[in-house]
């Protein structure tokens, strides 16, 4: 995927002026924290499980070479094949090679952020193979040629009118004057359209939430069932998985699964949690005859042993962005690459380079909410600070540093953005039941002044404005 992260500022400007996006953000903003909080409240052990989740992941990363090799051996014992891929190019080539060997014409796809990262769809299309996204959200994004804006709800930025318009344009075999009375009608239409695609596909590509060394399994977690249809119906199943998905045992995966859905959608457990291990067994009446795992590094192994190693614990639950005031002001597309929000602000510079993604670790209010909800306790604000320090230490170029200072200044000069971001942050604090006094350090500038000799930000002005608005009942 082509990164527009260097244009974060321009992206954000457009996002703030995008009425449709702002409507979607306003609709969704309060939902996530409330749902997660309810699920967490219903499981008294949740906090203990977060420590356990962190420790499982740390243990795995400390022995990642051992577990990867053990896992690969078990995949092969179950009749599967592992394709080790250092780079995105290697991974694209491996996927294409499998598809070509089996003469694939169409490929169905379950939701996979790695696939977005690698640009699998574009690559297949260039080589005459038609990829079909089957997750409802990914499907409409494919119709609209848009990237996802969220790692779990990729199309949450769209409104019902957008769905209806895209479906009328794409499904021309249906009566043009049909009426979508309810959201359910939109979903049924997608279900019918995609059923035929599931059945016709030669290859199914899914991602993986976990890889399990003990059994050589890959795990997907979905609510729709599209991932399962994708991996069950075609003759060939390809799993795209990055190296940090590894966990040692089923018990380890199980503990992390107790955290995942609660953190992601506020469900106790997702509808389909499926463990795939190798090929169709003798006598089985369904399931793929080939099982491939394209194991992707693409910059992750280089994070081991650095101050960013903690980021490899991420289980992609989206809690950090769901609770982020900046994310809910500017939306996911502003971040300009696959991974938005706080996790993206840390991960994207690691994967595509700080030169391209240097804005992201700066687009933060440093309110700390992300870290407080992260199920594996990744210290996201600290990692963002590390990136800023790295820029300074490496003297990345005065220009880049300047441009990030300019970013802050840009934030500061735009009362509109300030207000939106602040309003979101205030709401967030409200949900937390925290005292608003927390704001005294100025949301959009606190992180900048912290440990850095910056001219005193115009925070008072901003905070005063915030206070005025609050008195006026506008916040």
């Amino acid at each position: 995927m082509l990164a527009t992260s260097p244009a974060f500022k321009e992206n954000a400007t457009q996002a703030l002026a995008n009425a449709g996006l702002q409507k979607a953000l306003t609709r969704t903003r309060p939902q996530h924290p409330a749902k997660r909080a309810a699920a967490v409240a219903a499981l008294p052990e949740f906090e203990q499980l977060r420590d356990i989740g962190r420790d499982i992941k740390n243990h795995t990363i400390a022995h990642l070479d051992f577990y990867l090799e053990t896992w690969a051996g078990n995949v092969e014992r179950a009749g599967g094949k592992v394709h080790w891929c250092s780079t995105a190019d290697d991974a694209r080539a491996a996927v294409l090679e499998i598809c070509n060997r089996v003469n694939a014409k169409t490929v169905t796809k379950g939701k996979s952020m790695i696939s977005e990262e690698l640009g699998i769809n574009e690559h297949l299309e260039q080589h005459g193979i038609t990829p079909v996204e089957t997750d409802l959200g990914e499907y409409i994004l494919q119709l609209r040629h848009e990237p996802p804006s969220h790692i779990i709800g990729p199309a949450f930025h769209l409104n019902r009118e957008d769905w209806e318009e895209s479906f009328r344009k794409a499904h021309t075999d249906l009566p043009a004057d049909r009426v979508f009375h309810e959201r359910r009608d939109i979903m049924s239409e997608a279900r019918n359209e995609l059923r035929a695609k599931f059945l016709a596909a030669d290859v199914g590509i899914t991602g993986a939430n976990f890889l399990i060394a003990e059994t050589g399994s890959s795990v997907i977690v979905t609510n729709e069932g599209n991932g399962d249809l994708t991996q069950t119906l075609p003759r060939v199943h390809i799993v795209l998985a990055s190296i940090e998905k590894m966990v040692p045992t089923l018990e380890d995966a199980t503990s992390l699964l107790r955290l995942l859905a609660r953190s992601a959608t506020g469900q106790d457990f997702s509808v389909y949690t499926t463990f795939s291990t190798g090929i169709r067994r003798p006598g089985d009446l369904d399931g793929p005859e080939e099982y491939h795992v394209v194991l992707v590094d693409n910059g992750r192994s280089a994070m081991v042993g650095t101050e960013f190693q903690d980021m490899l614990r991420c289980i992609r639950c989206s809690a950090c962005m769901n609770h982020c005031p900046v994310y809910f002001s500017v939306g996911g597309h502003s971040y300009g690459w696959v991974y938005p929000g706080p996790m993206g602000a840390v991960l994207t510079p690691s994967l595509i380079g700080i030169d391209k993604a240097g804005h992201l670790p700066n687009a933060s209010t440093f309110c700390g909410k992300c870290e407080s909800v992260c199920p594996v306790k990744i210290p996201l604000p600290m990692l963002m600070r590390h990136w800023r320090e790295r820029e300074f230490e490496r003297h990345l170029t005065p220009k880049a540093v300047r441009s990030n200072l300019a970013l802050w200044a840009w934030f500061a000069r735009r009362p509109g953005l300030y207000r939106v971001a602040t309003r979101a942050a205030a709401a967030m604090l409200g949900w937390m039941g925290r005292r608003k006094g927390r704001f005294h350090s100025l949301p959009l500038a606190g992180g900048w002044t912290d440990g850095r000799d910056l001219p005193a930000p115009e925070g008072d002005t901003f905070f005063a404005r915030y206070a005025r608005e609050q008195r006026a009942g506008r916040v």
């Binding site: 979607a24 609709r27 008294p44 052990e45 203990q48 022995h63 990642l64 051992f66 990867l68 090799e69 053990t70 014992r77 179950a78 080790w84 250092s86 409802l136 959200g137 409409i140 709800g153 990729p154 359910r184 979903m187 279900r191 059923r195 599931f198 059945l199 060394a213 059994t215 050589g216 609510n223 729709e224 069932g225 599209n226 399962d228 069950t232 040692p248 045992t249 089923l250 018990e251 199980t254 959608t265 469900q267 457990f269 509808v271 389909y272 949690t273 499926t274 291990t277 190798g278 169709r280 067994r281 003798p282 006598g283 089985d284 009446l285 369904d286 590094d297 192994s301 042993g305 190693q309």
Partner: protein, 232 residues
């Protein structure tokens, strides 16, 4: 080549070479022992409460449950459910001996095709291997007698489950598989696929609003056979 490069880079980061043998042995022992972590207290309750928890959780996740006293009552329960929902009386059924041995002749209206599901099937009847009370989750390992498509393709998925197979936590279900299954291909215990199913298919992709019946079944109905003497 990529493999060596990836492992090499990880080891560089960890500031060591390949894991020393004594440490590798310790890790192999951990894999063999697969220690459990914290198991939430919610499922650590007396048997009748555990079963009640399972039913409550299925219903919380928009599934439905019908209790029957014995396996012989399953055909009637299925016929009643289909009639109440105004659903057709023909269905695809798992070729599981336990299901095939049921007294279907008592309900001649029901018509079944035994095998995997086809895309046109409106109703499927699956054999439940086990279930987890903690979240109302069905455990459905693939097997010749339990085809995966029966969990996915139909509009209405019915699962016949014996109450004695309801466990408290997921970890207990893994131990059942470990104890009961020997995989012909890998010599391990995992079948090609294990689906943990919690409620009917759903999506919130359209305007962040939950709708049931995305790609998988819109309805999930559990026929729970009360075969567990400890349950009452």
């Amino acid at each position: 080549m990529s493999k060596d490069a990836i492992l090499g880079e990880i080891r560089r980061g960890l500031k060591r070479g390949p894991l020393p043998e004594d440490q590798a042995m310790a890790l192999r022992a951990r894999l063999a022992a697969h220690p459990r972590h914290l198991i939430p207290a919610r499922s650590r309750v007396p048997r009748p409460e555990q079963l009640a928890l399972f039913v409550r959780n299925v219903e919380k996740e928009y599934g439905t449950v019908a209790h029957v006293a014995g396996l012989a009552d399953v055909p009637a329960a299925i016929a009643d459910y289909l009639a109440a929902q105004n659903l057709p009386t023909d269905f695809a059924m798992a070729p599981h001996p336990e299901l095939q041995a049921l007294p279907w002749h008592l309900r001649p209206m029901l018509q079944m095709r035994v095998g995997r599901a086809q895309p046109t099937d409106l109703v499927s009847v699956q054999h439940g291997y086990a279930a987890v009370a903690e979240t109302g989750t069905l455990v459905l390992p693939a097997a010749p007698e339990r085809p995966t498509t029966l969990n996915l393709l139909s509009d209405t998925a019915i699962v016949v489950l014996r109450a004695s197979r309801v466990v408290g936590a997921y970890e207990e279900a893994w131990d059942l598989l470990r104890a009961e299954r020997n995989d012909p291909v890998s010599n391990g215990f995992m079948p090609r696929n294990v689906m943990l199913v919690t409620g009917p298919s759903r999506s919130a992709d359209i305007e962040s609003t939950l709708e049931l019946g995305a790609h998988g079944p819109r309805r999930l109905h559990v026929v729970l056979v009360d075969d567990d003497p400890a349950a009452s």
